[in-house]
């Protein structure tokens, strides 16, 4: 195995189906339904997918959702705004967890 991540891997995503076909089929239905346009547009859902891919640090998803976003008429300028929104939330989340330390300190320190 030359690398853990390969840009050709995504084409073989469906190979996983063989190990649990019924669960895989359920996942495919759920995934397709979740990304159908509803109250949110297809483009809004693709942007959510892009942001989740970034903060989840999934190279496959980042590749896929970047291409999908471009095909939704968005540019790297749009994606940079989404990236910063997601990244700033991650920063805020890290800081918010500081409250745990803060509370522990309050509890056990003099």
């Amino acid at each position: 195995m030359p690398a853990y991540f390969d840009d050709q891997d995504l084409a073989h995503f469906g190979d996983l189906k063989q190990h649990a076909p019924e669960l895989w089929a359920a996942f495919e239905r759920y995934y397709a339904a979740a990304f159908e346009p509803g109250l949110l547009s297809k483009r809004e859902k693709v942007l959510i997918g892009f942001a989740v891919a970034q903060v989840s640090q999934c190279p496959y998803c980042i590749d896929s959702y970047t291409q999908q976003a471009l095909e939704q008429g968005l540019t790297m300028k749009h994606l940079a705004e989404a990236l910063h929104a997601a990244a700033s939330l991650r920063a805020g989340i890290a800081l918010a967890h500081g409250l745990v330390a803060h509370n522990v300190d309050r509890k056990i320190s003099m």
């Binding site: 297809k42 483009r43 291409q67 471009l70 095909e71 939704q72 008429g73 540019t75 300028k77």
Partner: protein, 323 residues
């Protein structure tokens, strides 16, 4: 070159979906008056640039007008290039076609208005009721300039304002449509969505109005194909186009309703086949001086792998999406 029709994966896919791809009698004469252009865009399927010298000669231009005059079913003249306005007899071609009562569309790159002697193009277009089809790949400056060259977006906005100022997209008789193509190796977005976003952005930020926006897929030929190969994405792009084959686009394919005339007068099924020198089916008129609508009807369209560009996703044509 007259094509012997190649067997292709595209032909197989179309054949399986709808049978033979055949044209109706043409209603549009699309004339490419030359490859000279003031721009040298990275996606250009014509390889047009300021250094190109191919120009439609007088006898071919007269033959185009003659074909229009004796073929009332040709209701539209679609003028393209290069930048067609740079042809020395461009304005005469337009005014004589209008005098024949034909609708005239001009594929207008906008920035040609800033070339010497072209500043009055908006007034000329308006005076002759020309429908202008203007290239603007994206409503953001960064994306448009990346494809068409630095400063093109600003020049295009100034040119759009000049068209608005003479009544385009304000007077119902003066139609200004935009054409958007992806800035890269991917399919265009949904036409209605991009039209909505472009209209809102151009109106709010630049005070620009337009009638409709057409999305067009980048064709994997000529300069764009060279770019794909250099970027190492040619195979992936072709696979993307083929995987997105949509049989619902086939009835509206532009090759079924137009005939394309090269600068040298040779006839083709479309502007893309023209650039590939993929001629009409054998036994059909091959030059504009032999134009005969009845003999062009029901011709079998010459196809190749590049045709997947017109059938991918929502489809692509000179009038935008097809399905």
């Amino acid at each position: 070159m007259t094509a012997t029709l190649p067997l292709s994966r595209f032909g197989d896919r179309v054949g399986a979906a709808v049978g033979d791809l055949r044209a109706a009698g043409p209603t549009t004469l699309q004339v490419n008056v030359g490859k000279r252009c003031n721009q040298a865009c990275r996606h250009c399927h014509v390889d047009a640039s300021p250094t190109r010298t191919e120009v439609m000669p007088d006898d071919v231009l007269e033959a185009c007008l003659d074909a229009l005059a004796r073929t009332p079913e040709l209701d539209t003249l679609d003028v393209t290039g290069g930048a067609p306005e740079l042809h020395p007899r461009f304005r005469e071609l337009v005014s004589r076609a209008r005098a024949l009562g034909r609708k005239v569309m001009v594929r207008h790159n906008l920035t040609v208005q800033h070339e010497p002697g072209q500043g009055d193009l908006p007034a000329f277009f308006a005076a002759h009721g020309v429908e202008v089809v203007c290239s603007l790949p994206h409503y953001t400056e960064e994306a448009t300039d990346r494809q068409r060259g630095r400063g093109v977006f600003a020049g295009s906005i100034a040119a759009l304002r000049a068209l608005n100022a003479v009544g385009y997209a304000r007077d119902p008789a003066l139609v200004l449509n935009l054409v958007s193509n992806p800035v890269g190796a991917f399919l265009p977005p949904a036409q209605a969505d991009l039209e909505r976003d472009t209209r809102a952005w151009l109106r709010a930020r630049h005070g620009v109005e337009f009638n409709a926006l057409f999305t067009i897929t980048n064709m994997p030929i000529a300069r764009f194909a060279d770019w794909l190969r250099r970027a190492g994405t040619y195979d992936a792009y072709m696979a993307r186009l083929e995987a997105a084959f949509n049989p619902a686009t086939v009835p509206g394919l532009m090759c079924r309703s137009l005939v394309s005339v090269g600068y040298d007068g040779r006839l083709y099924d479309c502007d893309f086949n023209q650039m590939l020198e993929l001629g009409l089916e054998e036994g059909r008129p091959s030059h504009i001086r032999d134009f005969d609508r009845a003999r062009l009807a029901e011709r079998r369209v010459s196809t190749g792998e590049h045709c997947f560009g017109c059938t991918a996703g929502a489809g692509s044509s000179c009038g935008g999406a097809l399905a």
